[in-house]
Amino acid sequence: MFDLLLWVWIILGGILIGAGVHFIPVGGAPAAMSQATGVGTGTTMLAAASGLTGLIGAGTAYYTHPGDFAYTIVLGGLSAALMISVLGFIANVMYVYGAGVPLASAKVKYDPISKWRQDLYVSRGTEGHGTPMASFISGIIGAFLAGAGGALVYFALVETYKAIPGFSATFGGYPAPYYVSLAAAFAIGIFFLNCVMASYNIGGTIEGFHDPKFKRIPKSIAASLVVSAVGGLFALLISVMLPGGI
């Protein structure tokens, strides 16, 4: 049956994913040449990488504690935050020892969190390099939000599909029941939907919450709300359409 609360969880999850993308510091292609601050990947793909690692965490958490809402969400967010902190740290090791540059951003004079001077440490002709303290913390927050959002979507979908008769069957000799497979596939789909919308909003690179582009976040929240509502509605209607099960 159609549960309104689960629809609200999917919409909230979508909004958190879109918001989380704005916190994660991304330097894009220039970051690989040490020309921009942030991690050197595309916005969409880095958020997808960390958020989907959070989805794995949420999946394992739900598997060991079925139905436990708080545990699933927290562990989903933490798994994503862990991934981004390892990734950011190892990337910084590469910048310091491999490229020989200090970590600095060209967009602010003093780092908002560590209060260290930034502009003197930026090499000429670049917009900064590495992931300094504020961007790093911002990335951890962003990944936590994206992971928690993904976990919310997954939780809502699994709760809905578990109730359909016949969905506890598995394929072949493998342990994954139907409802986990369907929920995971749809969670990945809704993830990409929100990540790409948020990256269209950012339009390139962002350094975290201290970046001027961060003020665009309300537009992303509105777009994520509508897109997740429609996507979530379609996903939840499947359980309404199958009262007799499979």
């Binding site: 394992t60 598997y63 491999g98 490229a99 020989g100 003197l120 497979s181």
Partner: protein, 295 residues
């Protein structure tokens, strides 16, 4: 205890996957530094580097992982997944079929991109195609097999409820993300601009002027993979290995809500390490400009 042993195998497979992934993306010049290789003919710098543009690593590694997993599942449906050797050979078959498809996509990308730059006079070198494609297929095979192996062990140990293909897909994206963030910097900042002084980012005015003449002869992408195997490759392996290992370590060693506490502690340890690293880099390297100049 069995789980911790299996987890160590998973971590080791992840480390190998990371190294092979970075070296493969260096031979193919994929993802971020490829923008410089793409720009070079336009600025008048013709080159003999590979130009593989299969959408960037975080999108192409899930592609390989999903094909490999689907093929492995198909082989296993015929042979049955009871025996360990049967599973092993199914994973090898999956990685092999994926390597062939990977090679095809790489050649279409090289030919397609260079043919679309014909107005700058960039020729297509068939010997670059012939020598580089098998190398990147081989590295891709190793990386893909490692991802499939680690996914299989995770599912067999009941550490994750997801289906095989879905879990392989997600670890593929994570591998691509780590490889793109860590390994590409060594290639882009160090190797492609080796004639510039070490210790500074690449000046935007120098974009496109990649190094085209090597230690002996003309630079090709296999040389770049040799260089990056000294630092970039192993560091990427360390990164991805840590991501996978710590992700499940906190759930295997401690249970329930203590896993969340362990996760928070690990994140804080990395934040503290990053602070020390940042301070070290500032003290050791110093500033680029003096204070008076900056006013």
């Amino acid at each position: 205890m069995v789980e911790l042993g299996a987890l160590t195998l998973v971590g080791a497979a992840a480390l190998i996957a990371g190294v092979a992934e970075d070296l493969e993306s260096d031979v193919g010049s994929q993802s971020n530094p490829n923008s410089q290789v793409q720009l070079a003919p336009q600025m008048g710098y013709l080159h003999r580097l590979y130009n593989k543009a299969i959408s960037g690593e975080p999108a192409s590694y899930p592609f390989y992982a999903a094909i490999g997993a689907a093929t492995a599942l198909s082989v296993l449906s015929v042979t049955g997944n009871d025996s360990l050797i049967g599973v092993f050979f199914a994973l090898v078959a999956g990685a092999f079929v994926t390597a062939l498809i990977h090679g095809v996509y790489a050649t279409t990308s090289y030919m397609g991109r260079l043919a679309s730059q014909s107005r700058f006079g960039q020729p297509i070198y068939l010997d670059v195609l012939r020598t580089h494609t098998p190398v990147l297929m081989a590295h891709g095979f190793v990386a893909n097999f490692s991802v499939l192996l680690l996914t299989w062990v995770l599912i067999a140990q009941h550490l994750s409820p997801f289906p095989f293909v879905v879990l392989a897909f997600i670890w593929g994206i994570a591998l691509g993300g780590v490889g793109s963030a860590v390994g590409d910097v060594h290639l882009g900042t160090d190797r492609y601009y080796q004639d510039r002084p070490y210790g500074s980012g690449v000046n935007a005015a120098h974009s496109g002027s990649v190094v085209r003449k090597a230690e002996s002869g003309l630079r090709n992408s296999i040389d770049c993979a040799w260089f990056c195997s000294k630092f970039g490759g192993p560091l990427t392996g360390l990164g991805f290995g840590l991501v996978v290992y710590l992700h499940f370590w906190k759930e295997v060693v401690v249970k329930d809500w203590w896993s969340a506490v362990a996760g928070i502690i690990i994140v804080m340890i990395f934040v503290i390490m990053n602070t020390y690293l940042e301070r070290y880099s500032r003290q050791r390297y110093g500033t680029y400009k003096e204070e008076i100049e900056a006013e």
